[in-house]
Symmetry: C5
């Protein structure tokens, strides 16, 4: 058997870093998790129906000066290693130290929290890397009355399409309040889960074909890999449902009643994702059963071949052995047609055996 | 082993299309899913106790002009690819853009929603195709105070019997309000689930007979196919229960109190379907156990045959081998009855073996 | 292996008839299920503390004329195929058409419903037939302020003991209201579940003994049969719990507060039945594990025998084979004691093997 | 294999007796279950802080005359077969007939009920018999405003330690109300569960050692026996939790608010017992997995030995067979060193095989 | 097979001691569990923003005299065997006897209780010992309005880091009330769970590699050991969640509203730990499946080798046997090229067999 070493996903290994904080006093800002981008850029997108201003800077002060409470202000931060910058933003918007701590902790579980009227929603964004591995990125949103802060672990084009739409003055997002933008951001993150789900769905169909046609020990590893992906995916998916559900249950001031239905829509999507998730889990567990049963069947078939061959030839060999004995007085040996009589006996036994196996449906 | 490639149901493959919307702004109307009919027909059935008017048209305006708030108006649309038409209906009845979006999304999960007093209920209708495959069709209902819109993915005769009954002036539906017709439509869809359930029940009985009489690797595939059908069926069944249950819990204005008991009746049917579903799931899982145990038993039996034959003949062959040796000095070879003595010894061993196997209940 | 075809219980097959109603308008009275009795008899038992009048008739009018609101009136109907008669009763007592429909549907799930102060409780009564099969009978009760209707699928002696007690003027039932009789009827049906449970319990003990002493492939079938019985039983048991629990939670006018504790008692019995049910389910699943492990052990044992025999004799046969070769120059063949030396070698190998197996604890 | 018949616990067999009541009118007092003691003794322990009076008698009237509402009266009845006596007690304290019925039914599920201010709590007391079997005893408590009745199936020393403490005037129980004694009685019964749990825990550790060191088919039977014990134990444990939890939730007059915390303590113990129960269930299920995997490993090992021996010697025997053929013209037979060449060839094949097995890590 | 005896963790053995209390009256103070430290030290850390006083003593009276209600008083007790000392503390702070009992019971389940405004929180602290074993230590906290008592089973450095921070006058803990210190203590205990979780995570990755590369029977034991650790861990983890959740739900006076968010943070950590726990449980169960499937595959492979060798050589040996017979009249033996013809036939059969196996993909 050629043993091949699978790519052990390191995704759930990241937790080890969490430990490095044990013992530190709460409120100490430490970036937990690997540094995923070099530069840390702050980007302000400020707009109302008439005007759109985009500012990029490495200097938080510059950005913060431009924040205009009359408009929608979306501040996007790529990279989490510049702790001073995040502290500066926290001070400016009076964010709780515990919130800042959670923003920096890339192991943070998705949840929804309110601190003095400010909503805090850390989520996981997904990416499918080449090689079937899912990459998880921590994205935290902070929603105030007229601003949104979004913190991404990595630079990325996750929100590029959304930026394009904002630049279109006719787009609904331009005429709406900041909470509508908040919805659009969440929706963008959730929509990415569909791509990963789709990818897993394709893997399952692939594996299914493999199980039916040519199951090998590699098939089992693929099944296990998908199961593991689903185990890890569940850790992101279910907490997001809780978070959005709590958003729907509570009357947060920063969410306008007229925009409620949009969040209902996001909730619907998450329920659908969870449905898909559970369907996949059941399908993969069926495939597992199927694989095990196929292996059993193969074993049975191998045993059958061995048994048929042995059962036919072992008695025949015995007969040949008997007449290979060197006793001086073995009357059959001297018969004229002894040899042919014995060959005939062997053929009869062979026929009987074959008939027996056929009746047993082994042949 | 003759490997035969099963029909991999593509039902859960449709989800892939959902992805094509990721990135589009919410509210953009896109038909998600395969186009299942060529023409898109609008049909108005308008009635009260005295009069029944049926109008078919490709022209929504023509239909909409005829809508009469004094009567029951049922507008049925076959096919979802004509987005303009659906937009036109949406505008006329002031439907929410999110609702229109869900109507077009054939991956939409069943649910019940109220938008400004209008009830929206997307469901899945089932059909059993030849070849044991279940076909899912998205059917969405919109219930206003005096109209029902029904959107079907495909042309079909699902509601033909209902149309016949409406044409009978003595039928209860003619003397009742639009919410009674709504109940009748839902009931018709739910009744179709019984046919599919029945079909699955028959498959299970078939498989059961196969498992008991002659289990092959094809049996395992049939078991897995039914399990998969049930997994997919669950995705339609449980959300419908939720939807109807939420309809019963809430006092929607469009449902008259006097017609409540009818919805209770539908709810009963769904609970019964879910009971059947769970019974089938348990039965199929029993069959799986039974199959695995039968395979084990067969294996045992094969091993027994091999073991009995080998255990009897290997020692006998050894004895024959001993007296086939060519040593010059082997006293037994020269005995007068050496040959017969050895044959006797062999018979004794044979008898002893058979006795041993009988005592072990292997024979 | 002698394959024997088990009695496939047709109990869950009955559902097929349900389908025959799909498409019919709700409220159409159709008897769903096999006709289980030929004659359809109506029987009125009317009593108060002083007097008891029993009337049997095939004529509903005759019976209905005798109904006396001052007394307890129990009308028992055997057989469900005479739809006119049931319609007549329905009209007289102003029963809802949906209720009549459910009475005729022998696939009806147990439930409790109130229609205008009238309680409706369809249940399943059980019987153990010879041959270990459970027979299900639909029994529906209708409780009004001074009457009870009971509809049985079949003639039967289920309530005979109760009739005897009613005929005793000193019996509590004679001095109580109609809701006490209702309790007694339910209690009689529930008590019959104990007999079936008992029967299943005995089967489980039987199977247990078989698994420990002599498991065969028939044992597996018996285990599966009991599992299937439990699956079907659950469909009756849990809904009855729901029904009685809903009866306890709600203040129905037809149940006098003073008789509440009796219903509590019935509820207790059902909870106990469900406890027994769950215990049996766990026990049977243990037996299944035990069976599978026993089969594995037997397989191991068979393999051991094969391995020991083969491992001992194959090398010995090889040695015999070597000295059976016909080379002209094989010095050993000419040794005086070559033969005995080789026999000694063989004995040594045999001893070594036996020692090895003993150390491995295979012997 | 030496099959040994396990002691099939008859504990869950007792239910059969329940059936003997089916058909009897409710309220008929029948003792259900085996008679576990010959004499039925009534014992009154009456005390306040100053005085303690103990009276034993076979005559209930004598006892009941002595009951003093000013003091704590604990009446303990051993044995349930004297129905008249229990009826007499029931009449004196105005107990509901349904309660008396439950007291006599030793299959009664633990529960808490209130009848007119009187609390009724039937429980199961456990004993570990020699031979690893758990014995269940029905103990029912009735708590009135100034008396406790305790009904035990058997004479026993369960409450002996408690009697000793009561006889100590300094003990808290002497200065407290009757509800504190009630707590002490329940606590005593619950404490006995720890002993049984402990016993099961020891069995699990034993089995664990056996599974690791020397698993036999007897190990599997021990695992199954413990699983069965746990299944039956659950039937007692969970209902007691419900009963005590309902006692905590409701404000029963007979429980003084100041003594509430004591019942909290009992509840804590039961939760801890349930924790232990669930831990044991998981551990035993792990052991089962471990056992099955060990059996698989053994099988693998046996197969390996067989395969190595067969694979080495079958080809060698074939070669020997070839040169045992009696053809007249076989050139090798006449070679001077033919025999040694062939022996050399055989050694080479042997070496190759061993090398192959070593590379496969089979050796 | 070399059987090696695993270290059977004795962790869940401790329960046996609990039993030693059965029968004792509640409220009797007994130390349950092994004595884990020799000396029992009382330590008072008293501080406000300005001042910090640390006192160590073996004399409780000395410590209690120094308690100052104006400051934060943290009394830490190492070791639980000095019952008098604990009784003395209990008297001074008016602690309930049931609480003292629970403090001494090292088997106590984590819970949160309030006795007269005093919060009582027994928890389990974890340590990973060398040799992969988790050590559990009972730590109980008592929170009054101005004091915290912490009871540890063992001396240890669990709170050393916290002591350091308290000694820093600038640290937040110095400016906050006693309930903030309470939070810091709980947080320290909870943070230690991460280290154990991390350790288990590493073990799982190790085992994963072992399963993929070289699964042996030791791998199965490692899997079982981790499963057992998780089973025991669950007993600590879930009750702590309940305790903190109940702390959040109730408005305890001793917790200032301003410090609520800190407890929210602890709750978050516990939820995250439970997420990790559940992920690990699923991963380990996947590994188990993987292991079992690998074992099956190995078995298959072994069987294949055996079958191929036997199937090829058994028929060939038979042919050799036929021509080793000693019949006088066997025409083939006298053919000139008989021997070579037979060798050719054997080669043909060999080739056919190899072709057959290749087509079956066995080679």
């Amino acid at each position: 058997m050629q043993v091949h070493l699978p790519k052990i996903p390191k995704t759930f290994r990241k937790k080890s870093k969490t430990v490095s904080k044990a013992g530190l006093p709460p409120g100490t800002l430490v970036h937990i998790g690997p540094k995923k981008t070099e530069k840390q850029l702050v980007e302000l997108i400020q707009f109302d129906q008439n005007e759109l201003i985009e500012t990029d800077s490495n200097n938080a002060t510059e950005i913060l000066e431009k924040v205009n409470p009359e408009k929608v202000n979306w501040i996007n931060i790529d990279g989490l290693h510049n702790i001073d910058l995040i502290q500066q933003l926290g001070n400016h918007f009076h964010l709780s130290p515990l919130m800042l701590e959670d923003i920096l902790n890339t192991e943070q579980r998705p949840k929804l929290e309110e601190y003095d009227g400010v909503l805090f929603l850390p989520m996981k964004a997904l990416n499918t890397l080449s090689g079937n591995q899912i990459e998880y990125e921590q994205i935290s949103f902070v929603l105030g009355s007229n601003y949104i802060l979004s913190f991404q672990e990595k630079e990325g084009d996750l929100f590029d399409q959304l930026r394009n739409r904002i630049s279109d003055p006719a787009n609904r997002v331009r005429s709406k309040n900041v909470d509508y933008l908040f919805y659009r951001l969440i929706d963008t993150v959730v929509d990415n889960y569909y791509i990963v789900m789709e990818h897993i769905g394709e893997q399952i169909e692939d594996i299914e074909e493999e199980v039916y046609l040519n199951p090998t020990s590699r098939t089992m590893q693929r099944i296990q890999d998908v199961k593991k992906e689903l185990i890890i995916l569940r850790k992101s998916l279910y907490p997001i449902r809780e978070a959005i559900s709590s958003l729907l249950r509570n009357d947060y001031k920063v969410i306008l009643p007229e925009n409620r239905t949009f969040y209902n829509d996001v909730y619907d999507h998450i329920i659908q994702l969870i449905d898909m998730f559970e369907t996949y889990r059941d399908l993969i567990s069926n495939l597992m059963d199927m694989y095990m049963s196929t292996i059993s069947n193969k074993m049975n078939e191998i045993m059958k071949v061995l048994t048929i061959i042995s059962t036919i030839f072992i008695p025949l060999s015995f007969i040949a052995g008997v007449y290979g004995m060197n006793f001086q007085h073995m009357p059959e040996l001297n018969w004229r047609y002894g040899y042919f009589a014995i060959l005939g006996l062997m053929l009869t036994i062979l026929g009987g055996m074959l008939f027996y196996f056929r009746r047993k449906k082994w042949l």
